[in-house]
Symmetry: C2
Subunit: 510 residues, 2 copies
């Protein structure tokens, strides 16, 4: 009885959080400008209601009753997992004072405007007080959440449960050790031509071709749709309705194509969660208060990066699919061959802006942010020294002198929203993608499929080993079940080394 | 303190109901087909939460505290009105057992499919059991809601508060008395040509021209947008975001044009509710559980019909705006003049289908439905005799023999949804539109505006006398304040008589 009642209540929480996601999708894709103010209130109300429903005494009472009921079930049963997820979330939210949650939401609601004006004026000083407050509130939040190592661990928990500063440190060190020499070696080599990617590609043709490639890797349009937005994203309202967006630059064709493939990779995760988990805590992030089936932000990113990079930027993919690109863009690609195209879409070019970074330099943008955030939270870096620390890291990693804070510390929206702890998932996603892809292609069906442009076996492997499980296992449990080990950067490093050695004519042992 | 807390709580109810409306809009305009099942659950959850928040003990406690606080305010103050609306709604919902509400929602959720299949197969017998259950549940609902005259009064209350079978009877009799002779006289006269309305009008051009005319009458696109749907509608998510939809037939141009004007009329109401009422019970239907500023469905329909018919189908409107129609459709309208166009869009043609009915025959479709629903509810008509009763009325009013139930009793979706009592508002809207328009044009600024295609003074008059008040006054209070009297069919009858006498060459005393 308690278990059924708990499931019913958590089903309502899932409904409310999905409703919140619909409101957010609409706000970013369809809403007329006048709607912003009252829409923010509607979203805030749904957030508060969902939090209250998870944190209140009634839920704890149902959890206790359900625990008594399911204790005779095996430890590895769905029922036990569900009850455990709810208890963990209820306790998490009960530890954080509602006033603190409100204060951070309030800070986030004013921050976007402060940040946008500071960025436009290239004026870090006017943004600094907001960052100070954000750091202070998040530090207080960390104390309530609790941690055993570093206070930043408590903040990452919401996005990447289990990840810690202590585990990230050796991971980042190994990545830098392998990737910096690769980057240095590439800098001395001639760059592949990319001029033909800057020809005029009509917007509608780009959207159609991107969607066609998204469907080819398995995106199901009877449960999805594509729209355009300034910042691309994927969002789901249960596995039955999983939407993606992309942005289009008429003179830079890779933007929308790889944007669509990236978001479609996210969408595959959500569309293929076990249907039995729909509306349950195994398809609801009760801690982050987000209706999502993916077990962590990093695990989610592994799927977007895998289908964008390991599949969509592979030589094999374009050997097979380039004729269709030519058919879609006859005027623009008639004088180009698959190999030239493949080299162009993999060009490495260190730059200032994270969201424009290529596959090889992206992680450096992430590592510097994670390190900086952790230092802000533990007090070893003060906000006033932030631009200097930022610029020093860009110089160290990418060899560039940051000419203005607009191209540096002011580029990301994240801190304006009041959130700290969100960045590590991108690099974890890259590492996981390498690890999962390496294991998947050992499966003959997967490898044979890739060799004939049939991505269904790969998608099915990911579904069987990742997607279907939703939030039943932790990220590391999932990795161990799928690949036999926890997070391991070597397959990712091997992938980068092989690909870029090939494109840039480096000795393979780089 | 109680009043502020009550306002805050009702603000959350408004947020939840607006969220529900966003989900419904999305389901009808953007949602991929796979999303239907879980979307229905999300909408149901938001409904239940909103109802519970209005009906629970906490709200009643806040009402009592707020009543004590505002009792020294004048009887005509906003505060008193707000507290009274909440008490009325709380008591309304507390009278109806939650199980009954759920049973009706459940019936509605299965009904659409039963109805769609029955209609496709032209098989009333397979739909009849659903109608039986709908009638029985609604009769039970009426007993809980309470009434002093006819049980149907209790059901209309949700849509048209204060309206009763006793008040509708003489209204309908007067309309029939005046309109039937007009209809008979028209039947003997030659019909205006409409062939040119069936030329090919490109869909995009139709949407653009309809939206241009909608903006001309005052629809604000910074707080709105137009989409296409199978069934056109207007929906608002506070006055800041008021959306309309239309449907387009490439070979019947009036459909989208007048659909857009009709829905824009509804939108004007919502866009112009006093901003101070945003998120309050004066912009929330706490009984119908719908985030709407209009005081009743009939009052709402008065605005859509006024801008569609009194403005959009008037000779004056096309004398001034026809050149723009010609510019929008040069190939289709180059050989047509404003007078010919105006006559064509006002052609009277009795038919079987309500939603395709012209201005003169529409009310007959309504009156027969209201009479039939009331008879079903009081038991004087049984479901098995429904098709016969329907067909007899169509014969009596429109002189037509209904050839099949698909074109008769099976045409409307309404009964499949579990709802009874929704129909009277269409005719009340027509009557109100006539009464308000007659009063408005006595204002020189309004009349001068109409004479030079400036609809701002008319829109402003409607805002001052109708829109801005939201749900502060009852429909009849609103009418008395605006026109000096309660519902009066004579201006509407005079409008119809004058217009159709003109078009069909009848003596004006018809």
């Amino acid at each position: 009885m308690g278990y059924t009642a708990l499931l019913s209540r958590m089903g309502q929480v899932n409904d409310v959080l999905n409703a919140k996601s619909v409101l957010a999708w609409d706000a970013r894709t369809k809403m007329p400008p006048g709607g912003a103010e009252t829409r923010a209130k509607q979203i805030a109300t749904l957030s508060v209601m969902a939090r209250d429903m998870v944190a209140d005494d009634e839920t704890l009472r149902l959890v206790e009753s359900a625990e008594a009921e399911v204790q005779h079930h095996g430890a590895d049963t769905v029922e036990r997992a569900i009850v455990a997820r709810v208890r963990e979330a209820a306790e998490y939210h009960r530890r954080i004072p509602a006033a603190l949650v409100e204060a951070r939401a309030e800070l986030g609601s004013v921050g976007q405007d402060i940040w946008a004006r500071a960025r436009a004026a290239d004026d870090f000083a006017s943004f600094a007080p907001h960052v100070e407050k954000t750091v202070a509130l998040n530090r207080e939040m960390a104390e309530h959440i609790g941690y055993s190592g570093h206070p930043y661990d408590a903040l990452m928990h919401r996005f990447e449960p289990g990840e810690t500063v202590a585990t990230l440190k050796p991971l980042f060190a190994r990545l830098r050790q392998a990737m910096l020499p690769l980057l240095r070696a590439i800098a001395d080599r001639p760059a592949p031509r990319v001029d033909f990617l800057e020809r005029n590609y009509p917007v509608d043709a780009q959207l159609a071709f991107g969607l066609k490639m998204a469907e080819r890797i398995g995106y199901d349009l009877t449960r999805g749709r594509l729209d355009t937005t300034v910042h691309p994203f994927e969002v789901s309202f249960t596995r039955q309705d999983v939407r993606i967006t992309t942005r289009v630059n008429a003179n830079w064709m890779p933007m929308s194509l790889f944007g669509s493939l990236h978001e479609a990779g996210h969408a595959l995760y959500e569309q293929n969660v076990d249907p039995a988990y729909t509306r349950t805590p195994l398809a609801t992030d009760l801690i982050g208060l987000y209706a999502v089936g993916g077990v962590s932000f990093g695990a989610h990113e592994s799927q977007s990066r895998l289908f964008e990079n390991h599949v969509g930027r592979s030589r094999e993919f374009w050997e097979l699919n380039f004729p269709e690109a030519q058919a879609a863009y006859p005027d623009q690609l008639h004088d180009i061959d698959a190999d030239t195209f493949w080299r162009a879409i993999n060009r490495v070019q260190p730059g200032f802006i994270r969201v424009e970074a290529d596959e090889l330099t992206y992680d450096f943008h992430i590592m510097l942010r994670v390190d900086i955030e952790a230092a802000l939270i533990d007090g070893s870096l003060s906000v006033k020294d932030l631009p200097e620390a930022w610029n020093a890291k860009i110089k160290e990693y990418l060899g560039l002198d940051v000419p203005s804070n607009r191209l540096g510390v002011l580029q990301d929206v994240h801190w304006s929203s009041g959130q700290i702890g969100t960045f590590c998932n991108y690099t974890i996603g890259n590492v996981m993608a390498g690890q999962l892809y390496e294991t998947a292609v050992r499966d003959n069906a997967v490898a044979d499929g890739l060799a004939r442009a049939d991505y269904a076996p790969l998608r099915q492997w990911m579904t069987d080993h990742v997607h279907t499980h939703g939030r039943r296992y932790s990220r590391d449990e999932l990795l161990v079940r799928a690949t036999g080990r926890t997070l391991d950067p070597e397959p990712y490093i091997a992938h980068l080394t092989a690909k870029y050695s090939d494109i840039y004519g480096l000795p393979h042992a780089a």
